[in-house]
């Protein structure tokens, strides 16, 4: 795990020398990214990557108090995108607006445009229940249902009516979450008998079982010990082969270790200095953010001078 830190930080997007030439000579169609090789679409220069989310001037308020102001960013396909920033800067708020979890807070209001593969997540015909089937979420505190391990994983597929043998679906999800070997003999035990780290991986398995495209994670490791944390980080790196992941974390090393892109948010005073809200300060490749940030506030924050 530890040597990953340096690896991830110094890792540059895997571009071969030929890429520049191909690009320059127009071998790749600039407008149709689907013809590009997959690796290039996901890890190449940002302007060519396939976008999962496009946020344009997104603001979120709670009962008139703005929590997040004017965020514009693209979140890329099969990338791990980290949201970092001091407490209260609106990371969770922003994350929860991506799968309409904010709809559950009556006072919450989302403005601006939030596109998922080009479709407006807040469009008039969009069903938030459907959105959450496609964009799953894992929470800070492990929140398994007070049911058996099996029923926890089966809950989602039963809800969405996924076809297939439920036993297979449950096993597959637990395997992908790296939990199968630990729990295969006690699937009928209550999930509350598991350790915190196992519970969190169960929550990830539960989320995977629905076969989402995107997994949103809000500080998934903050309640876990370093070993469980390392397991979940490994898991995230495996999962990004199939899913786009957006993770909120307070752990700089974690962001550096696992993410491809990092967004730094911060609480800023409004122009009239009457109230404060969270703003996106900088968003770039993780390696850039952690080695050569473009904004001094980012540098202060990641070097521990603020927040």
């Amino acid at each position: 795990m530890t040597n990953n830190l340096t690896q991830e930080i110094t890792r540059t997007p895997p571009r071969s020398a030929g890429d520049d030439i191909k690009e320059a000579s127009g071998v790749y169609d600039q407008t149709d990214i689907s013809v590009r090789p997959e690796e290039f679409r996901q890890r190449g220069p940002a302007e060519h990557r396939e976008k999962t989310f496009e946020l344009r001037n997104v603001s979120v308020s709670y009962g008139g108090n703005r929590a997040v102001h004017d965020v514009s960013m693209d979140i890329f396909h099969k990338n791990i995108t980290a949201l970092i920033g001091p407490s209260g800067c609106g990371k969770s708020t922003l994350l929860r607006s991506l799968n309409r979890m904010n709809d559950l807070v009556p006072s919450a209001k989302v403005e601006g445009s939030l596109l998922y593969h080009g479709a407006d997540i807040y469009g008039p015909k969009v069903d938030p229940v459907q959105v959450r089937k496609v964009i799953g979420m894992v929470f800070q505190k492990p929140n398994p249902f007070p049911k058996s391990i099996y029923d926890n994983v089966a809950f989602g597929p039963r809800t969405t009516g996924i076809k297939g043998d439920m036993d297979d679906i449950v096993e597959e999800a637990l395997r992908r979450a790296g939990l199968w070997d630990e729990v295969k003999d006690r699937l009928d035990d209550n999930a509350y008998g598991m350790s915190g780290g196992q519970q969190q991986r169960l929550c990830i398995a539960r989320c995977i079982a629905v076969e989402p495209d995107v997994i949103l994670m809000d500080e998934p490791c903050s309640a876990l010990d370093p070993i469980s944390t390392a397991r979940i980080e490994d898991l995230m790196l495996e999962l990004k082969e199939r899913y786009s992941i957006v993770i909120v974390t307070h752990n700089m090393q974690q962001a550096a270790r696992v993410s491809d892109m990092t967004a730094f948010l911060m609480v800023e005073l409004t122009a009239d200095e009457k109230s404060r809200w969270g703003e996106l300060i900088e968003y770039d490749d993780t390696s850039k953010i952690f080695t050569n940030p473009g904004d001094s506030r980012t540098e202060d924050y990641i070097s521990g001078r603020v927040g």
Binding site: N99, R132, K133, F139, K141, T159, R206
Partner: protein, 319 residues
Amino acid sequence: MTTAGITVSGGGAGNSPRRSLEAPSPRYGEKTVKVILAACAGLSVLVTTGIVLSLLSGAADFFREVPIHEFLFGTTWAPAFADAHFGVIPIVTGTLNIVFWALVVSIPLGLLSAIYLSEYAPNRVRKTIKPMLEVLEGIPTVAIGLFALMFLRPFLEDVFPFLDWTGPHAIGVAGVAVGLLIVPLVASISDDAMRSVPRGLREGAYALGASKLRVSARVVFPAAISGIVAAIVLAVSRAIGETMVVLMAAGARPQITFDPTKSAQTMTAFIGQTATGEISFGTIAYYTIFAVGALLFVMTLVMNLFAVRLVRRFREVYE
């Protein structure tokens, strides 16, 4: 600087090198409060024990005259007649009839209102309805009895015209009235139980693409089951113990029947009627009241124990 620091830390508590750890005063006030509180708690236990003991001693006097099996298994209840019979089954079935109809009405109505209040209702609506429910719980039962006779009975006659509505009293009418009486109780307690299910569980289910109905039925409801069972047990106790509505609407004819349009006497109605009539102290009729009262007590006790076990078995414990 350094010297000053050492001096201050060494003499922080004045002249004494160590600060006293003993209580500065004897704290009589606290001790008095403790005694008063313990006395109050003790008094309520004493009163309850007293009630139970007086019931049991009266019942013991009764069973010296009437064999217990004749009481428990006899099918004729005529304690005040010259040719007296003490078979309690007719008035027990009367009570069970009332409980049945009361639950048929109050469980669905109460639980559905609770789900609405806790999961669906906007805050504003909940804030108006919840206090109204709590006021409804306190309506005098005589008023409900009147309501049963004046409105409910004609209403049910209209809705079920094919039933045989002879006689002025009907178990069904009384049972439904008792049910309506306890709906607020069931709704309010179940609502509290469901509201106290942690938000994280709900969010976890919503995040899996569950609809509101599914979250309510498959996550919130099972997690709140112990509170909901408690609500139902309380409801049954209320239904068993309800006297006035039953006396007014179901009448006082001790007979074994399951026809909701017929009259029947319940255990409480018997006690209420007999205790308010002319009975002389020390007669067998007088002791009958205690025997029936003791049986009522045992029934509720058994039901509560049963409910506790049921809850242990099925509850989903959340942190």
